[in-house]
């Protein structure tokens, strides 16, 4: 056998990498910070490698004359998994989000099993993105997979903390509610070719899928898991679980709307969702006004931002995947920046309650600034990362209906007032003299996050190449 002709498929290699990383991270959990750091570097490099993949020449030469076929399909359990141009951006973003979360986990002294859980979650979400065909359309079983991943996410979110478990528990609800709707819709979709003239079948399938997607997107009033979890969970876990789940749901929505366009024209789905998106963004902004915990404030700001993404996806005349992907990219940056600050603050203070934050900005200015700028980015404050996306969304929304834009603006204003209130507390006179000063690594992480945020705020066109390529998965 000539070893020069040996071609290995990439996906088993990738899964083996995930599994061995998870096992190694668990076995070496005593050195959790180092395993997290190594994991962050590995995930970051892999993300870059996947992003740079040339689909015209998908063979990657390895030492010893071996080569990796990056796009070779793999069939298991009746499902086909394949890296394609359409799912590559999702895989790369999954890896990038995991790298960010693992980087933040290097700042944490608790829950040593987090790196292992992060790799498991990454493996699950990657498999979901890479599923291209099956005995039934993969999208129909996706909510069941999301249920399983939400269950694994619970372990990361609770992190062995003896705190109120209602937030992680609530994260299980949306995929669980959506799963039966998708399964019944799958039966109706199978019937469409048999009765192409029967409009009722198409309408019923569209209604069930639309309702299922709506539940998965978790708008108001299904939103409660986000702020509660943001308050109780470690920021790194919150960042990882929330963003991976939301990215998977956005990808699923794009797949469903592309494969079954009758969801849009045979039902009132866009109208339901645009109203619920508006309510979500308004409620996020108003509730942020009264938040007494920095984590919860982060959660409400993230909720307000998520509502805007839903609104952009749903509103007739406004629907734009370009804008949605742009907003989501800015969301990742803002959430990472806020989480970078929050992780260090929580480690230093033991809690993110407002009482504990009094004067913390004096001792920990960089991390306080990272938190504030990240949260401001989530509500689209000028000179923050989120401003360009929010401004573009507001302008487009105003062209459809200026009243909707005004409501979003008022909600953002409410959130900004809440953030200013927290900023005043953080930069007031220091009461607790035992608050430690920032350490070099924490400062470096905060400065890096701030630099990324400011760079994107000043030059949002930096993301245009990323968005153009990511649109292959959504547009």
């Amino acid at each position: 056998m000539n070893s020069a002709t040996l071609v290995l498929p990439f996906l088993p290699f990738l899964l083996a990498l995930y599994t061995s990383a998870a096992i190694a991270s668990f076995l070496l959990r005593t050195w959790a910070r180092w395993t997290a750091l190594v994991g962050a570097v590995a995930a970051g490099l892999l993300s870059f490698g996947v992003w740079q993949l040339d689909f015209n020449d998908p063979q990657l030469l390895l030492p010893g004359g071996w080569s990796l076929d990056m796009v070779a399909p793999v069939e298991r359990f009746g499902y086909t998994f394949q890296l394609q141009q359409a799912n590559m951006p999702v895989l790369a973003l999954n890896l990038l989000i995991t790298a960010c979360a693992l980087l933040l986990a290097t700042r944490s002294r608790e829950h040593n099993a987090f790196p292992a859980l992060a790799w498991f979650l990454l493996a699950g979400y990657s498999l979901l993105a890479l599923t291209t065909a099956g005995t039934k359309a993969p999208a129909m079983g996706a909510p069941l997979v999301l249920c399983m991943l939400a269950a694994i996410g619970v372990f990361a979110l609770q992190s062995d903390r003896r705190t109120d478990p209602s937030g992680p528990l609530r994260t299980l609800v949306p995929p669980l509610l959506a799963a039966p709707l998708f399964l019944v819709a799958a039966w109706y979709i199978d019937q469409i070719p048999l009765n192409p003239q029967d409009v009722v079948i198409t309408q019923t399938a569209g209604m069930l899928l639309g309702l299922g997607l709506l539940l998965l997107l978790a708008p108001f009033p299904l939103h409660s898991a986000t702020p509660v979890t943001a308050e109780s969970a470690p920021p790194a876990a919150m960042l990882l679980v929330t963003l991976l789940q939301q990215l998977a749901v956005l990808h699923l929505t794009a797949q469903v709307l592309a494969a079954y366009p009758f969801v849009l024209w045979a039902t009132d789905w866009p109208i339901w969702l645009s109203w619920l998106g508006l309510l979500t963004t308004v409620w996020g902004g108003i509730a942020a006004l009264g938040a007494l915990n920095a984590g919860r404030l982060w959660g409400y700001a993230a909720l307000s931002d998520w509502g805007l993404i839903i609104l952009v996806l749903a509103t007739p005349g406004l629907r734009s995947w370009t804008l949605a992907v742009f907003l989501f990219s800015l969301r990742v940056i803002s959430m990472f920046t806020a989480a970078a600050g929050l992780t260090t603050l929580e480690q230093a203070l033991g809690s993110l309650d407002l009482r504990r934050l009094r004067g913390v900005g004096v001792r920990m200015p960089w991390n306080s600034a990272a938190f504030l700028l990240g949260v401001l980015g989530l509500v689209g404050f000028p000179l923050s990362a989120g401003f360009a996306g929010h401004w573009a969304a507001l302008i487009t929304l105003a062209e459809v209906d200026w009243r909707l834009a005004a409501m979003v603006l008022v909600a953002s204003l409410g959130a900004v007032i809440g953030i200013v209130r927290v900023a005043r507390v953080m930069f007031s006179a220091l009461e607790n003299r035992t608050v430690p000063r920032e350490r070099p690594f924490g400062t470096a992480l905060a400065i890096t996050a701030l630099a990324v945020t400011i760079a994107v705020a000043v030059a949002p066109q930096l993301l245009s190449a990323l968005i153009t390529r990511a649109l292959a998965a959504f547009g």
Partner: protein
């Protein structure tokens, strides 16, 4: 094996059998006892599985697999419930007359609206049964944030999920996925039950409107202290400070 399924099926796949299964689902919500709930949900899922074999010719081996999954799931929840001392949030679920009224309201509304919707390939009675199970699961989640109750709710909600996967999409492997998902979800709920603090936050303390002040927020009571038992009145809320501890002591 076929004779066994036939004998059991004759009992469960009748009007009386379906009614009994529905009543068990309702009793889980009304009685609000985790032991009754676990036994009830086990019986319910076995009953529904037998109905599926009897009426829809779902392969017996698939139903046996599901029964194994549900036995494991209930065992996990029972172990978690017996291993934890944090049962405070288990009792924050109103009283039984209120829960009974809520269920009666749902039944009344259902009867009044009478959607007459039947799932494809399912009879009206079967559809009503699985939707009723799902509603009872939702009611459990609405009444309580306790992880054990959440686990029971997951199992109740999985009843229609499994029925739909097994009957409408045979050969797709989705019924097996439902069983795996059920186990993982219950594992997560059991874990949450084990890490729940002894004095979980009472939702009554977390009302934050109108604009709150930092002093109003109470910390999680990790261990009941002598001071916490004193029925002092919080200056901001007007609610006795050690209310939960007093209730638990009197119980």
């Amino acid at each position: 094996m076929d004779a066994l399924w036939g004998a059991l099926g004759a009992g469960f796949a009748s009007n009386l059998g379906v009614l009994v299964l529905g009543a068990i689902a309702g009793m889980i919500v009304i009685l609000w006892d985790w032991r009754v709930a676990l036994a009830g949900v086990l019986f319910l899922q076995i009953g529904v599985g037998i109905v599926l074999v009897q009426i829809h010719q779902v392969p017996g081996v698939l139903v046996v697999g599901q029964i194994v999954a549900i036995v494991l799931a209930t065992a996990m929840l029972a172990l978690a419930a017996t291993s934890t001392s944090a049962t405070g949030s288990l009792h924050h679920a109103a009283n039984w007359p209120l829960r009974l009224l809520a269920l009666l309201f749902i039944v009344g509304t259902w009867w009044f609206i009478d959607p007459g919707y039947a799932l494809p390939l399912f009879s009206l009675a079967e559809t009503d049964l699985v939707i009723w199970c799902a509603i009872c699961g939702l009611a459990l989640v609405c009444f309580s944030g306790n992880p054990i109750v959440g686990g029971v709710a997951v199992l109740l909600w999985c009843t229609p999920l499994y029925a739909v996967a097994a009957v409408l999409l045979p050969g797709s492997g989705l019924a097996v996925m439902v069983g795996i998902a059920e186990l993982l979800l219950v594992l997560a709920c059991s874990y949450l039950a084990l890490v729940e603090p002894a004095g979980a936050i009472d939702p009554a303390w977390r009302v934050r409107f109108p604009l709150p002040r930092a002093e109003r927020r109470l910390a999680v009571i990790a261990q009941p202290s002598p001071a916490a038992i004193t029925p002092a009145v919080s200056p901001n809320s007007g609610v006795p400070a050690g209310r939960d501890e007093l209730l638990e002591k009197s119980a």
